[in-house]
Symmetry: C2
């Protein structure tokens, strides 16, 4: 094939030169044309993957950890990296993320940019900055064109990122109003988490909104609601479906690290979406990996990496589809912002890394923090027993697993101090030093465990919040080269809308 | 032009389809060809820019700071970013950097990968990992082809990165042997820093090497040595030139922030290189921005940003050349590794950034640390006077400039503790906590100043060393699209060698 390519290239040089002479002989600016001749068909199947809190460092962490012994892909002694599906994409861009009113963006302003191609203010769902105007989203454009629409997220389906594709609200916190707009969207497939807008406490959160029974509104709008894997599998193309299975207290999927096997995965929701939406009219699917962000807020590298792997597995479903329909498909992957100030280096580990130390973490920080909360409530666990629990669930302190997991005196002191803080029930973080150590509201003992474990592996964080570094954009399929180079996050949406010809004439 | 392009594209679709039918009609795998038809001429002018310690975060920092009020480009109230020359490049790739024997690479192993396309061990200069074999460098290949060769660096010209293009040594520390290989390289232009190998202390560093008088060796080999701007300007094409002006104790250019006006800049060295090497035989130029790395080791964001701007100004010279010779030129920019675990977010500043707070730093950490060292030697400066000096040189603590520069009690305590440590002359960092706070050998008071100033601006670091995150690759010119996507740092060299046809047949 490679030789055949060369022959074609050779022929094309001549032909192209000829055409150029005829078509723009008066134009000295033909170098770009000679350098790259890019054409594409209009894609009718568009996948838009958004990793919340996913920028380069999250990808780097996951690929580094993937490679190391037993984390998932066992390659003992190899200092290289594992390869996620997204790193096989032929085109990369870098996109700035700032909001209209803040350099470090939030998920609502970022998702508005990614869905509509326009900047807005922090917290706004697909409206302009002063909320006087709704922005049309690319999903709404695609629907108007007759394409089937799927919106999938591992967090609640009315969370900022998915919301920005079907709703318009002045505040991302108006979950009741946002969720109600699912029912009026007429979109074909909603899947992943449940709706916070159906929770009693959110039903009247918007002072101008009414209490909403989202399940009833969706049923009245003709949606089949499935709550088990079997029910989801039984749905058929032509049905409008809202699918969720198990969810946590925020109506989100469990962390991948904690997910019970009867909870449907992000990849399964994606595969079913392809099955339901595949038709001659084409489809637009947005798939969000939403808890990469949450794990990074909590500085839990292992939970973030597992959620990124779950997200990448969903990308794998799109890749399978692409391989069957390469001339009709475009896949775009990006993040809305980085989170946590993650990097793969730490002062005390100097030039060394030991990602394999992460492999013994069994549960997310969240699951462990629930246990610590119970200890504090019951007052029945001392520091020594707490360390035993830490050894079991994180591997940290267990020198039998790996000498490098042993605790230094300094580390033990940090853990002791954090444990006492956890047991005290003091949630005040006005003390600047404690705020830096434990973050705004995380359990001190748990976050000290993930900090020390991460640092021993050669990983560190600078923040409990989003950061301002740009996000990568990965593109594959028709129009892919349009995503090459450096641009703004609003340009990602503009490019997709133009390439897939989503805008009405 | 855009409409003309569309016409050309339309015509090409038909022609391409025809060719494809004829040339590979039996091949179902023609989707990639249809998707992107890329051809290029063999570039005869190759620029290879290497930012030492430059990965995405360094670029992000500089563009964020550039935008902010008064840092360089004044755009008050704008939350966007400034744009460096490198961000105008049409193609981006991401490259892994790991060495043969360590995940976090060093400049020698990384530069060997970038110069030769092969992995090696930490500290090795263009040899294989066990030092039994020399690797041919792309500069040597280009020389053998008859191209003119220029090697430019803002650090010493025998430092790891430039060395890997002309020398072969088992250890980067053998400066005497490395520098001596400049003289035998027959390359046409060396410029930037002086040679550490000419320093008395390095002349016999390699136990098997002889003391070297590098200036004499270069003169004997026919090089014109210039040590002033005027002497450099007087050189002519056809002369072999080694150019340096002022240099610091490591034979490197001063930090851009400290550079006296009579010291030639990296951009000037680059512009002169273009003038000297431009000929029908083509040229290969490697230009390193070497002190971005050093500033990041010391966690000094302002010095790093200014050195990156100086590096980007050198890229601007190449861009000017490219615009005159677009069909014959390829420009590649990359970094060898990240340094410092830099990011644009910090726990205490939460979602806020204030890059404008950086604008009042007048000198590098290095210049300031020399002053602090003198205070310690003379014992004549108390904490209050030290704070005054800090206010003057960094702006930190000067609420008249900006309220946000005022110190909290916690920050003042950190500075007091660090000042006492600096005055004590204690350079022991065995204490884990002090090591984390001050790094392996930096002046405690100075690095505490840059830490607090950076953090107030919403910037933070995790390390005093390199990190393992991949580096961006920017490409413009003939063959640019070959650099799209994710790959390894060895692939960058392989691609350049193939595209520019540097390898001997």
């Amino acid at each position: 094939m490679k030789n055949a390519m060369k022959v074609i290239m050779g022929s094309l040089v001549l032909l192209t030169s000829l055409i150029l002479l005829v078509s723009c002989g008066d134009d000295g600016d033909d170098s770009d044309v000679l350098n790259s001749i890019t054409k594409y068909d209009t894609p009718k199947y568009v996948f838009y993957f958004i990793g919340d809190g996913m920028a380069n460092p999250q990808v780097n962490l996951t690929e580094a950890a993937l490679n190391d012994d037993d984390f998932r892909l066992a390659k003992p002694g190899d200092v290289g990296v594992g390869v996620l599906n997204l790193s096989t994409f032929p085109v990369i861009g870098m996109a700035t993320t700032f909001a209209e009113d803040r350099y470090i963006t939030g998920s609502a302003a970022a998702a508005t940019a990614l869905a509509c191609g326009k900047k807005t203010t922090i917290g706004t769902i697909s409206q302009n900055g002063d909320h006087s105007q709704d922005f049309e989203t690319m999903a709404e454009m695609a629907k108007a064109k007759g394409m089937k629409i799927g919106i999938i997220s591992s967090v609640s389906i009315d969370h900022a990122t998915p919301a920005c594709f079907y709703a318009h609200e002045p505040s991302r916190g108006n979950y009741n109003n946002i969720a109600a707009q699912m029912a009026t969207s007429n979109f074909d497939y909603f899947a992943g988490g449940f709706a916070k807008g159906d929770f009693e406490k959110y039903r009247g959160r918007d002072p101008e909104g009414d209490p909403k029974d989202i399940i009833a509104e969706m049923q009245n709008a003709g949606y089949t609601i499935t709550t088990t894997r079997a029910e989801l599998q039984a749905t058929q193309p032509g049905q409008k479906v809202w699918a969720y299975t198990g969810y946590d207290g925020d109506a989100a999927l469990y962390y991948e690290l904690d997910r019970p096997s009867d909870h449907v995965s992000l990849a399964e929701f994606t595969a079913k979406g392809i099955e339901l939406l595949h038709s001659k009219d084409g489809f637009f699917m947005m798939i969000e990996g939403g808890k990469i962000d949450w794990a990074c807020h909590a500085n839990d590298a292992v939970s973030a990496a597992h959620d990124l792997i779950a997200f990448d597995n969903a990308i794998g479903e799109a890749l399978d589809f692409y391989n069957e329909h390469p001339k009709e498909t475009l896949i775009i992957i990006t993040g809305d912002h980085e989170c946590g100030g993650l990097t793969l280096g730490f002062a005390a580990t100097e030039y060394e890394s030991a990602f394999a130390l992460l492999k013994d973490q069994k549960i997310s920080y969240q699951e462990f923090a629930v246990r610590v909360g119970n200890w504090a409530d019951n007052g029945n666990v001392n520091f020594s027993t707490a360390l035993d629990s830490m050894k079991y669930f994180f591997g940290l302190g267990n020198a039998n697993l790996n000498n490098a997991l042993a605790l230094s005196e300094y580390e033990t002191n940090c853990l002791k101090e954090a444990f006492n803080e956890s047991m005290s029930g003091d949630t005040d973080r006005d003390n600047e030093e404690n705020f830096l150590k434990y973050g705004p509201y995380y359990d001190p003992f748990t976050i000290t465990i993930t900090h020390i474990l991460n640092q021993k592996a050669g990983i560190d964080w600078t923040s409990y919040y989003h950061t301002g570094v740009p996000v990568p954009v990965y593109a594959m399929g028709q129009g892919q080269y349009e995503f090459s180079g450096s641009y703004d996050n609003t340009d990602i949406a503009k490019k997709i809308i133009e390439i897939a010809e989503l805008a009405s004439d």
